[in-house]
Subunit: 303 residues, 2 copies
């Protein structure tokens, strides 16, 4: 396998209108959601082999998700279907900023039933750490992962955390086992409170992070390996819809890693994927091939 | 208290369009749902004291429901708010017949924390029997209920039943403790399979039911006390929206009981409430006062 992705595979119920609070929403639209599935689909569409570790209920939402993954070529033998749970739903307030959300969690409370098969990349999000059982099973996977490159999306929000540990203690355990984390400023603020970007980078390194990409929205990103730190501006010129931009970044970045780029060069392919995604509406869209994108954005080292 | 109502207090997510399956629904509308809350609100609007036994999550849907009940004068001290659960949701396919539905249950899996306070009527639905804990606590309430008149809505569907007992065994335990049950033909079919109406009545009596109202949609209803059986045609002439018609029937019926009518006379007030409800759109609507309705439909014995 090229990549195995683990975390929230779910239904987003997105408000049809812009409202100040979910409390006022009258109408919702059904979308397939979850960053790990977006990444798995993006990689599959670019010709790589992707698989997913997560859990769904044996319900119409679960079947809808599984069919969609399979239609997009994602391997689903590690996606458990459980009679006794419901497929997770997240109610999301349509917003031009970081949207308000409320999770209905059932399947993802205990979603990791498998050992880690051989894979070049293992990607996981905070949902894979968000209960005692998930945390234990993810640590087990990380300890088994041997030669895989490991990426972690620390999309922590307090409402998701059902462990009895602090997020700082969880990160101390996890980060030394991870090759790279890619927090947004919102993620970093959820974890450490309001700080400047320099301090966020410092904090993550102190907790054991080897490599960090701190994304800054329209201002690009900072990448640090603890010795060298570089800031890149965003390649995006035309902004139509930022939904899934972070997942597109991960996707380009991982394709760079699969092509043996170093993390700095790979991040440029991530930047390019993100810029391409932002031009169109939707969390997962059809992109040009990564080779064309690498050529267009002059990213060296892609075969 | 005049009536305490126990069962599903929840959010109905109703499809915006008519579809063949929930699988195809793209848009949903948020509604406050649950037959027990419709009945409690109807009684409160008619000037009676109503209260609810159920459970909601400490989430935006739960707060929405609680505010709505309180705005309508329903007493909510027995409505538990639990941090560790989500407010129940039912996804419902908009339909002109009996609608397809899928429940997301969390709060109502264990919703009965209280003893039964003094009340003239106790009403409950199958949801109050649908897990081992609910079943145990409802039996305890029924054993405590002393002089209350007890009505049971056997809205059984297999998908709701999370006990390890058969519905027949559950009914054998429950029905001797109940004054009246009001199944629809769909309810009876879910319980016994397809039969004719005579056999449904016989089956319910055999399981211990004292009094039965079997509703037949536009064809009215049959009421039986085991000795006497009577069929009534529906009072409805103008049909705009049948949502909540069954709850309106219960509401009129209970107001008859609170006015010391016998079950046959009380059922006529139920019939009249149902006919009035059907003229307007919505599960809970503003009705004329029950005294006016009793006068209009020539139901004797109302003060």
């Amino acid at each position: 396998m090229d990549i195995i992705s683990c975390g929230e595979i779910l239904i987003d119920m997105i408000s049809k209108t812009y409202e100040s609070s979910l409390r006022n929403v009258k109408d919702y639209e059904v979308h397939i959601g979850g960053s790990p599935s977006n990444i798995a689909i993006n990689l599959s569409k670019q010709g790589f082999k992707s698989s997913i570790i997560s859990k769904i209920g044996n319900d119409f939402f679960g079947r809808f998700i599984k069919e969609n993954l399979e239609k997009n070529g994602v391997e689903t033998s590690l996606l458990s279907v459980d009679e006794n749970v419901n497929t997770d739903i997240v109610f999301v307030l349509k917003s031009k900023k970081s949207p308000d959300f409320y999770p209905y969690r059932s399947a993802t409370l205990n979603m990791i039933d498998h050992n880690l098969p051989r894979t070049k990349i293992f990607h996981f999000s905070f949902w894979a750490l968000s209960t005692e059982k998930n945390l234990k099973n993810t640590i087990k996977i990380l300890n088994e992962s041997k030669n895989a490159f490991i990426g972690f999306d620390p999309n922590y929000r307090k409402i998701l955390d059902k462990t009895n540990k602090s997020i700082i203690d969880i990160l101390k355990t996890i980060l030394p086992k991870v090759n790279i984390i890619k927090p947004s400023e919102d993620d970093a603020e959820s974890i450490f409170g309001k700080m400047n970007t320099k301090d966020y980078i410092k904090k993550f390194h102190e907790l054991g992070a080897k490599n960090i990409i701190l994304t800054l929205g329209k201002d690009g990103y900072i990448i640090s390996n603890g010795k060298k730190e570089k800031k890149y501006t965003s390649y995006a010129k035309e902004v139509i819809d930022t939904t899934g931009a972070g997942d597109a970044f991960w996707s380009g970045f991982y394709i760079g890693i699969l092509n043996n780029l170093n993390i700095f060069e790979a991040s440029k392919l991530g930047n390019a994927f993100s810029a391409e995604k932002i031009k169109k509406v939707g969390a997962v869209i059809d992109l040009k091939s990564y080779k064309e994108i690498a050529k267009e954005y002059e990213i060296g080292g892609i075969l």
